[in-house]
């Protein structure tokens, strides 16, 4: 009897000790991960499913919420306290060849409340590094700072970087001279330079390209979409342009001179004309820059914000005064702002300033620019026709640039093969299909390029456990990026661990990607070291931390 009592007490004591030790660690709630639908974003959807699977193996209960883009944007932008994790992407644009925009806007604490830093990353050390690189003009010193920024992010893992997609484009070798196609770093052969240099070799003198999206607007003061942008790039000139190597080169400007750290004088090329025949003047240039900060072009405002004054020194010299020095000014501003005719837009903007609408609501019937192509006509939802501006200083070799709207990916490929299109600029299908078609049909040339843009998974740093860097590092380490590249992107992507793409060779911190250790065991040991319990089973917080956001 005494023995039995002893044993019973011992068991009860042991059980209560065990119970209290387990109860001491609070289980982590079910977390929700947002994704776009499979039909709209098959790669994103697939990647999210694979990642959720790996996280469940660690012991995290993940539920994937699929929703259309507008709903997702609403949650992520306007309800920053409510979501846990989301898939997201940043598009590659020529102006993003300079890493400043991405490194600053995505992670600086000033953009956490309303801007692109919707994850709520607050790191004073990072802020300092990224502020300094902005004003460091010496390229090597600046590079060291940009590398440091990437190292900080790799250690903190505020975002789980996935891949830089490899976009594949194709064209008809029988119609165009292959050697005239320009592969722009981080952008691909679907580049501005191609549209100028592409030389027809036979009877077909038009460049016929496709897009699966509707063109929303052709407006130099409105960034309305990727496809729309191709058109405004061709219709309007800029002072500088991002070259095929990713560096700014003079375009409407002949040259520039940095008078001091915050003053730059730009000399306008002479002999330029608007499409209506009137000459392009320094007043037009000054007007174009002032228009961005006048309040009617909100999407361009951030790029003109740093300009405190624009003065016209002589017939063809414009002087920009900046508030603070800016190392990326030429790429992110001078190569971004479209030159617009003052005689067309001044009355329009004056009228708009009295109304609620801004310049984004205004659509010119015949957009007037000074660019290499002129506007001819727009058949809604069907095609847009531009013709070469033969008087331009760098006139295109082709006669016309015709954009056809083709929402069906298979049809687009078929049209390339049949000749209805001669340059495939938008292919939403499996790139392998494109390669196979090119092999069968010897006329096609396919070129794929690593994009400046990237896909990633964002953690909401305002909500535990995502406020713990160790937890984020573990989640990120648990997924081998090769799995994402192969299974979700069908090998048309490169693994990423930095927002600066390998396409930007000078700025990319390759060690940060190469030295990134991944694996389930790596992830689990990170979690254990950080004090998390239930690893591999049902994750619990470290001792003393309780779940505050339960369902």
């Amino acid at each position: 009897m005494k023995n039995f009592l002893n044993i019973a007490t011992g068991v009860a004591l042991g059980a209560s000790l065990w119970a209290t030790s387990v109860a001491a660690q609070d289980p982590i709630r079910t977390v929700h991960m947002l994704s776009r639908p499979q039909a709209a974003q098959p790669a994103e959807f697939q990647a999210v499913q694979l990642i959720a699977q790996e996280w469940r193996k660690l012991g995290l209960d993940v539920k994937v919420d699929v929703m259309p883009w507008s709903q997702m944007a609403d949650a992520v932008w306007y309800n920053r306290d409510t979501w846990d994790i989301t898939a997201w992407q940043m598009t590659g644009r020529p102006e993003r060849s300079d890493p400043d925009e991405i490194l600053y806007n995505l992670f600086h604490s000033s953009t956490a409340e309303k801007g692109y830093n919707f994850i709520g990353y607050q790191n004073p050390e990072y802020d300092k590094v990224v502020e300094e690189q902005r004003i460091t003009v010496d390229p090597d010193k600046r590079r060291a700072l940009v590398i440091r920024a990437q190292e900080i992010l790799a250690a903190d893992q505020p975002n789980m970087m996935l891949v830089h997609p490899q976009q594949a484009f194709a064209f008809d070798k029988n119609v165009f001279d292959e050697s005239t196609v320009v592969d722009q770093s981080g952008i691909g052969i679907r580049s501005y330079w191609t549209w100028l240099a592409l030389t027809p070799t036979g009877d077909q003198k038009d460049i016929i390209v496709n897009s699966s999206d509707n063109v929303i607007a052709v407006n130099p003061l409105y960034i309305s979409g990727v496809t729309d942008n191709w058109l405004t790039e061709l219709l309007f000139d800029r002072l500088y342009r991002v070259g095929a190597d990713g560096l700014p080169q003079p375009w409407a400007a002949e040259n520039h001179e940095w008078r001091d750290e915050t003053t730059i004088a730009v000399k306008l090329r002479s002999g330029m004309e608007w499409h209506d025949g009137k000459p392009v003047t320094a007043e037009d240039v000054a007007f174009s820059y002032q228009a961005t900060t006048g309040g009617e072009a909100p999407m361009y405002a951030p790029f003109g914000k740093n300009i405190s004054d624009v003065t016209i020194e002589s017939d063809n010299t414009i002087v920009f005064s900046l508030t603070t020095p800016s190392a990326s000014f030429m790429t992110s501003t001078l190569a971004k702002i479209n030159l617009i005719p003052k005689h067309v837009w001044e009355p329009i903007l004056a009228d708009l300033s009295t109304k609620d609408e801004n310049a984004e609501s205004y659509q010119e019937d015949m957009p007037i620019g000074s660019g290499a192509y002129k506007f001819v006509r727009w058949l809604p939802n069907e095609e847009i026709v531009l013709e070469a501006n033969t008087g331009h200083f760098n006139a295109p070799k082709a006669e016309r640039f015709i954009l056809r709207q083709v929402p069906n990916a298979e049809a687009a490929l078929g049209m390339l093969r049949s000749g209805e299109l001669n340059f495939l600029t938008d292919f939403q299908g499996d790139p392998q299909v494109l390669l196979d078609a090119a092999e069968v049909d010897g006329d096609l040339e396919v070129v794929s390029t690593v994009d400046i843009g990237f896909r990633y998974v964002a953690f909401n740093l305002r909500r535990p456990p995502f406020n713990d860097a160790a937890f984020r590092r573990a989640l990120s380490a648990s997924v081998d990026r090769r799995l994402i590249v192969n299974a979700a992107f069908k090998k048309f992507a490169v693994a990423s661990n930095s927002v600066v793409s390998p396409a930007l060779e000078f700025w990319h911190a390759s060690e940060v990607v190469d030295d990134f250790e991944v694996g389930a065991d790596v992830a689990m040991s990170i979690l254990r070291e950080a004090g998390y319990g239930g690893v591999g089973d049902k994750l619990t917080y470290p001792d003393g931390v309780t779940e505050t956001l339960g369902d």
């Binding site: 259309p68 507008s70 709903q71 078929g414």
Partner: protein, 325 residues
């Protein structure tokens, strides 16, 4: 005088139906989850600019106020401004509606013309092997998904044989001075051929089977037996006496089919890159562009309602046995 009252009642019913459709449309979009502002307001906007946009969209007012503004505008023929394009909804719809109507009506006319003759023919061939072979084929055409049919036709007639183009209403860069010039050009007709054929193949099942079934009934009627006894030719019996009567329900189903056809339009317009209202409607809905989606939906609803009215009127006209009351 006695015909005026039913017409008045009919018109009132029409207005009531339209009002119900308009109200349901209005509520439907606003009850969908998600905030259209998220899609249209760039995060770099200042607070002032965001508010200006909200005011421009009319989203700062209460739901009831928005509803009455919407109704009042509608009565004046004002369909509002598209959130996405920032241009008047009406302009966009008028540009795209003709493309959809041409596709719908041309495919239905072909489907019905074929269906009526084929249906009569199959009724004539009752019990034969032709009928046994043909019926499953007809049923299959009705069962297959339109987009699949479209893709198959595209693969065969466009990509393999190269007989027809694969998308759009005309070849790249071609210009026509007027719509009439466009619609009567060989270029346009060759672009219309495949999408029209897709919809026609899908739609012909209904008139064919309906016609056949009606013919079988009609052929058993007394007046047909009488015609035979009179010694009339097979043509006179089958076509003049039989088919003309069997056709009545089929004609009214034509009018109603317009409504069903418009659903299929969306899919065919996407497969063949046909710039029509169906595709625009779907893209407006997924982009949370309320005014454009409402406008497009409403236009389609109006067409359907009018065609239903036409169906009613047609029936009374064609069949002297039916009076308006």
């Amino acid at each position: 005088m006695s015909t005026l009252k039913p017409i008045l009642i009919r018109t009132l019913q029409l207005v009531l139906v339209l009002w119900a459709v308009v109200t349901i449309l209005f509520l439907m979009f606003r009850l969908m989850p998600g905030n259209p502002l998220a899609a249209y307001i760039d995060p770099t906007f200042t607070a002032e600019q965001q508010e200006a946009l909200i005011r421009q969209f009319g989203l700062d007012k209460s739901l009831l106020q928005q509803y009455f503004t919407y109704l009042i505008n509608l009565l004046q023929g004002e369909l509002g401004y598209s959130f996405r394009y920032r241009t008047p909804v009406a302009d966009r719809i008028w540009l795209l509606l003709p493309n959809t109507l041409i596709l719908t009506f041309s495919s239905l006319i072909v489907a019905y013309a074929f269906g009526i003759f084929a249906g009569a023919f199959l009724a004539w061939k009752r019990g034969s092997r032709t009928e046994a072979a043909a019926l499953p084929v007809v049923l299959a055409t009705r069962a297959m998904p339109e987009f699949w049919l479209g893709m198959v036709l595209l693969a065969i007639f466009s990509f393999s044989l190269g007989w027809f183009p694969a998308g759009g209403t005309r070849s790249a860069g071609t210009h026509y001075e007027s719509l009439w010039q466009l619609y009567t050009s060989a270029n346009f007709l060759s672009h219309l051929a495949l999408p029209m054929l897709t919809l026609a193949i899908y739609s012909q099942g209904l008139p064919l089977l309906l016609m056949r079934s009606n013919m079988l009934d009609v052929m058993n009627e007394d007046f047909v037996t009488m015609a035979r006894i009179k010694g009339l030719s097979p043509y006179a019996v089958v076509i003049r006496h039989g088919a003309r009567n069997a056709m009545l329900p089929v004609m009214t189903s034509f009018a109603i089919s317009v409504g069903y056809q418009l659903q299929g339009n969306v899919v065919v317009e996407t497969v063949f890159s046909w710039p029509g209202l169906g595709r625009e409607l779907v893209s407006a809905v997924s982009a949370a562009d309320y005014p454009l989606a409402q406008g497009a939906f409403l236009m389609i609803a109006v067409v359907v309602i009018i065609m239903n009215l036409v169906a009613d009127l047609l029936y009374t006209l064609l069949d002297p046995r039916i009076s308006y009351a």
